[in-house]
């Protein structure tokens, strides 16, 4: 069955079952992922998948169900399950099927040039990068993860109130993790980059980044466990921000799981800090003209000069708080329920370079990598104690890599302890991440550092 036919039959069946307003959300994705290992193609995945989700109001309550198969069995499966699911929903404010915003942005997040890049060209890029990786330094022994991923996603929202929105986006990404060995020391260094512009992926630069990162971790030494000024390098800063970004969601504050509840308009951070959610960012991985319930997206300050300007809202959370939606309705995929998430969200950079920040530290620690963020951070209390890698700094100069560490502190306090912000804005895609989150390097007055 094709989509149009499926939708018509579905809405008709829904109406017969007593649904008043109905929506069909649709996603289609084509992907290519390739891994290279020592000159050989180690894995090569191509895919073409679609899925649809049905959302409908039954006796004033919203029921959901999804399917990846457009057949007769799925029609009745969707309607029956959505109906049964709606019966238990007890929230006083209900979701609605949205007729649409007055106007939408006209951003184009699909690169026709990127779509023209062939699979052999992509594989060739990997081979070029690999050549540079092995020739860069003789201590390189291999890669433990080295891949290119490219994809094209089309999404559409069709509803019984006449809304009919669709959008197509594409991207390509490189992820490299290089292993270096020196004596019995083994370290790895990671570099990743997502873009819509294939031509900016420079093999030599990518290889250099990853290998230098790995080499810089060699000869790690212990350091005294104590409180240090900490420079969170851009990638580590964005990973930490990524972990705590849910506290800026109205859905989370309404559940009482964020200390930012009721803080809109108040100062929550140092005046240096401004955070923007920008759905129209040209190179943004999550750029879009409409959100997952069909509302127009908007570029806005979340934090401006340290003051919380707004939380992120969808239409339901906005109604609960008596404000307007900020266009942050989000579904992880057609399988999920409507929730709240950022688009491309970042800390606004200043004019101080990373090197200038390093030279301002008399004694401190630079954090280059955080791991275990999904378990070591408590987004409810803001407390974190996270494994980290990085360097020891003395008199404004990097002295050496440090053995595995943990850094501990509290996110809400950290916002008030930012001493300086770098100019080096970088985005990262984290593990199980929501949102495409970026930050320049952040100098933090003090964090508890424990060294192995």
């Amino acid at each position: 069955m094709n989509l149009q036919e499926f939708k018509d039959k579905l809405f008709q069946l829904g109406e017969e079952h007593g649904f008043t307003d109905m929506e069909l959300y649709y996603e289609r994705e084509e992907k290519f992922v390739c891994e290279l290992f020592k000159g050989e193609i180690d894995s090569y995945d191509t895919s073409e998948v679609f899925g649809t989700s049905f959302r409908g109001l039954y006796k004033g309550k919203m029921g959901y169900a999804f399917t990846e198969k457009l057949d007769e069995e799925s029609l009745s499966y969707l309607i029956e399950n959505a109906k049964e699911n709606s019966k238990f929903i007890e929230d006083e404010v209900q979701e609605e099927i949205f007729a649409g915003s007055e106007k939408y942005g006209e951003g184009n997040f699909y690169s026709a040039d990127l779509a023209e890049v062939t699979i052999p060209e992509k594989i060739n890029l990997l081979k070029e990068i690999e050549k540079h990786i092995y020739s860069y330094d003789e201590r390189v022994t291999g890669t433990d993860y080295f891949m290119l991923s490219s994809g094209e996603t089309e999404k559409a929202i069709l509803n019984s109130k006449g809304l009919n929105l669709s959008e197509k986006v594409n991207h390509v990404g490189i992820y490299v993790s290089v292993i270096v060995k020196q004596g019995d020391q083994v370290k790895n260094g990671v570099y990743s980059k997502f873009t819509r512009d294939f031509s900016i992926l420079n093999p030599k630069e990518i290889a250099k980044h990853a290998v230098e990162e790995a080499l810089s971790q060699l000869y790690a030494q212990s350091a005294e466990s104590k409180n240090y000024p900490v420079l969170l390098r851009n990638d580590a800063a964005s990973a930490l921000l990524q972990t705590f970004i849910p506290v800026f969601s109205a859905e989370i504050t309404q559940k009482g799981q964020s200390a930012l509840k009721g803080k809109t308009g108040e100062s929550i951070a140092v005046p240096l800090l401004t955070i923007i959610d920008d759905p129209f960012l040209e190179e943004g991985l999550l750029s879009s003209n409409f959100d997952s319930e069909g509302a127009a997206t908007v570029r806005k300050d979340i934090v401006k000069d340290g003051r919380l300007v707004t939380l992120m809202h969808n239409r339901k959370t906005a109604q609960k708080d008596g404000v307007e939606s900020t266009g942050n309705a989000y579904k992880a995929s057609y399988k999920g329920a409507l929730t709240v998430a950022p688009t491309n969200l970042h800390v606004v950079p200043s004019d101080q370079s990373y090197d200038a920040l390093v030279s301002s530290i008399s004694e401190g620690i630079i954090i280059t990598e955080l791991s275990g963020l999904h378990s070591g951070a408590n987004t409810v209390s803001g407390d974190f104690s996270i494994a980290a890698n990085g360097y020891y700094v003395k008199d404004g100069k990097v002295q050496n890599a440090v053995n595995q560490m943990t850094i501990a502190g509290n996110f809400y306090e950290l916002l008030n302890n930012i001493e300086a912000i770098g100019s080096d804005l970088e985005f990262s895609m984290g593990f199980m991440a929501i949102g495409y989150i970026g930050s320049p390097s952040l100098l933090i007055r003090e964090l508890a550092v424990t060294v192995e």
């Binding site: 193609i41 180690d42 894995s43 090569y44 995945d45 191509t46 895919s47 073409e48 998948v49 679609f50 899925g51 989700s53 959901y64 169900a65 999804f66 399917t67 990846e68 198969k69 499966y77 399950n81 049964e84 699911n85 709606s86 238990f88 929903i89 007890e90 929230d91 699979i119 291999g142 292993i179 083994v186 370290k187 790895n188 466990s225 104590k226 559940k255 009482g256 799981q257 399988k335 999920g336 329920a337 791991s371 275990g372 999904h374 378990s375 070591g376 408590n378 409810v380 209390s381 104690s385 494994a387 560490m405 943990t406 850094i407 501990a408 509290n410 199980m432 508890a448 424990t450 192995e452």
Partner: protein, 463 residues
């Protein structure tokens, strides 16, 4: 799900360009996810996943294509896309498919698809009431319910043609205790390879009370000190430490390319004498159990480390090719969207000879971790970290005051050598494990153990 003749044509097409092995994985999965917050059902989602994964090998080269298009045309297109990556002449004809009936090793008595959702909601509400009423500082309770029926068909060019139905159920309770500005969570998430009978027989009192007790206890806890301490890790989910410190490093994914610290070390002493480490997918109806893996191989019990000596690895078909070894029934994947790779099932440290009481009374000054949170490992370096949900100070052989915010960091191979006591109270806990082939259900398990020295990163800072 798909007819034998279509599958045969797809395998044949996949081998057109010189592949020496082809496999088709068909999945039709029904899931229910319900969430209850503040006593009210907040979301109730039902869905059907359907898709097909086609894999072709040529030597060590592996190609994977997947699609949701189950039509003959769609499948042949996907097979063609996969075959395109291999350039050569056809070298083998697939063997004739032989349907093999494998009896379900983990019988299900009540398929959740046939259970009214209202009964599921009732279980959630009961758990909510118990957790909420545990203490007046419990501010918020979230209960999540999950069930799935995953139907798979696996066929390959060696003539394999098997089907399997996996039914799983899980309940997760999270309590948040609050006082002034302080908030602390506590959680528990039991699960099994069972149907709704699991929920009916679940000891809700125990799990819901424990979730709240952890939150309330941690609310009154001191910040954990930092430094190096002997660490006692309690049984059940405590086993997550070895899952991270050693389990991932024994997967062919990392061993085959010699990226793991455990590569080429079979027969060597990699752990202290008291450590025996096992992965067993056959444990009856456990959360991480399987009848067959996602390459159609029967689940088995694999002894990985015996009395400190490395005995074996977790191997999938592709890893096996690279290593020149046979599959150990360890090829797993989240769904048709992932090519399978070597993964754990139910992995645990076997019982030792000490008792929990002996371990505690033999520890002069250390940290006791009752419940662990999640963790992560870098299999290349062996460095791992994980969060502690509930910890206590141990002083003069007694468990003392509660501690919050502890993170344990270390290096897998080193930690294995430092395990100096293993108790006799083995138990298992359910978790989700994320790696290259996606997120899959696994159990981690162990009796109480002691590590003579671990680095503890606490919010209190040094000394």
């Amino acid at each position: 799900m798909l007819s034998q003749s279509i599958i045969n044509d797809v395998i044949t097409a996949a081998l057109d360009t010189g592949g020496d092995f082809a496999e088709v994985f068909v999945e039709d999965r029904f899931t229910n996810n319900l969430a209850l917050q503040g006593g009210k059902i907040e979301s109730s989602l039902s869905g059907r996943d359907f898709g097909i994964g086609i894999r072709v090998f040529k030597g060590l080269q592996s190609v994977y294509a997947y699609t949701t298009d189950g039509s003959r045309e769609g499948l042949l297109k996907a097979a063609g896309n996969a075959a395109q990556a291999i350039r050569g002449e056809k070298i083998i004809q697939p063997a004739q498919l032989q349907r093999e009936i494998i009896p379900a090793a983990h019988p299900i008595s009540l398929n959740p698809r046939e259970v009214e959702k209202l009964r599921k909601v009732d279980v959630m509400k009961k758990a909510y009431e118990i957790a909420k009423n545990y203490h007046n500082s419990i501010q918020q309770v979230t209960v999540r319910y999950f069930d799935e029926e995953q139907n798979v068909l696996i066929a390959n060019s060696e003539g394999k043609f098997v089907e399997d139905r996996r039914v799983r159920s899980r309940l997760a309770i999270q309590s948040i205790a609050a006082e002034g500005n302080k908030m602390q969570p506590g959680s528990y998430g039991p699960g099994a390879h069972k149907g709704f009978e699991f929920m009916e027989n679940l000891n809700l009192e125990h799990y819901a009370n424990e979730a709240s007790r952890i939150a309330v206890t941690m609310l009154g806890a001191d910040p954990c000190p930092s430094g190096k301490f002997p660490v006692i890790i309690d049984n059940e989910f405590g086993g997550v430490i070895f899952h991270e410190a050693c389990g991932h490093g024994l997967e062919a994914t990392f061993v085959a390319k010699e990226n793991s610290v455990f590569a080429n070390r079979i027969g060597e002493k990699v752990a202290s004498d008291v450590v025996t480490y096992v992965d067993d997918g056959t444990l009856s109806n456990e959360w991480g159990s399987i009848t067959i893996d996602d390459e159609g191989e029967k689940a088995r019990k694999n002894v990985l480390i015996e009395n400190g000596i490395l005995k074996g690895y977790l191997i999938d078909k592709l890893g096996g090719r690279r290593m020149g070894m046979e599959s150990t029934g360890s090829g797993r994947r989240q769904s048709y969207r992932f090519a399978p790779t070597s993964r754990m099932t139910n992995t645990y440290i076997a019982n030792g000879k000490s008792t929990p009481a002996e371990i505690i009374s033999n520890t002069e000054h250390g940290i006791y971790t009752k419940y662990m949170g999640g963790g992560q490992v870098n299999p290349t370096t062996g460095d791992y970290n994980f969060a502690v949900m509930e910890a206590y100070l141990v002083k003069d052989g007694k468990i003392g005051k509660p501690l919050k915010g502890a993170t344990l960091i270390g290096n897998g191979p080193k930690t294995l050598q430092l395990v100096d006591m293993v108790a006799n109270n083995l138990d298992h806990g359910a978790g989700m494990c994320g790696s290259q082939s996606g997120s899959i259900p696994v159990n981690v398990g162990q009796p109480m153990i002691r590590v003579s020295e671990m680095t503890v990163g606490g919010t209190k800072g040094g000394k």
